[in-house]
Symmetry: C2
């Protein structure tokens, strides 16, 4: 298991990375894209630092980590706490990357079912359902 240290110091890099993630809204980026963003921004942040902050932010529940099927690299996305995203499922379109928030009684039922019948307490914050959205289905991208 990887070690997750608590944040002790507030550094410029840590602030910049979190702010950048927040500024992207629902858009996801790879670690590499973040590194490149700061290269252009004349505020170079080493890739090691980027990876370490991403790991920490994921552990803190501030961002989400995805593995999209095609790419060989992980994607990260900001979690907007004001949107109360912890209370519903997230659907991620593997084709266009869209993130869909679903608030539906069947999903609530499923949550209860998993707990009662399968003895499993699901963590909605960390869970994302992958698939293909309606637009991409219609466009035949499935």
């Amino acid at each position: 298991m990887k070690q997750t240290r608590p944040t002790r110091y507030t550094t410029a890099q840590g602030k910049l990375i979190l702010e950048y993630m927040a500024s992207l809204g629902d858009k996801h980026v790879t670690a590499h894209q973040i590194v490149r963003h700061f290269e252009t921004a004349a505020a170079v942040i080493g890739q090691t630092t980027v990876y370490r902050h991403l790991e920490k932010l994921v552990a803190e529940g501030k961002i989400r980590k995805y593995l999209l099927s095609e790419g060989n690299s992980a994607c990260y996305q900001y979690i907007d706490r004001n949107k109360a995203c912890q209370e519903h499922f997230h659907l991620k379109c593997e084709s266009c990357g869209a993130l869909i928030h679903v608030d539906c009684t069947l999903l609530d039922k499923m949550q209860g079912h998993l707990l009662q019948e399968h003895d499993f307490q699901i963590n909605l914050l960390k869970t994302t359902l992958y698939g293909t959205c309606g637009n991409c289905l219609a466009a035949g991208k499935a």
Copy 2:
């Protein structure tokens, strides 16, 4: 996109790999585990060959490939066509790391519901639900 050639020759390695995958049933393995299995089995198969066959088998729909968030390597799993319901969710315990396979009619319902009501075709192979398993709940590790 990667090229997928049709199978022309039937080779000993190809047979061995498919047979091994089939023998595992629902269990998933990584490419590396397959290579190691054959190392022990005194029938060494190069990793290149393993990867090439896995790719082909995925293209042929005989096995599934999926990425579990934690690991950095892909997992492969045999698809048993004789089984009524091979599709299932993966539950990953964030506390102990256990991977639980859930095969349940509710999942079919949910799949249909998402498609009809939310216009979303879920990909069960790519989807993993995160949470806490019964053992860890009981142990108060949640």
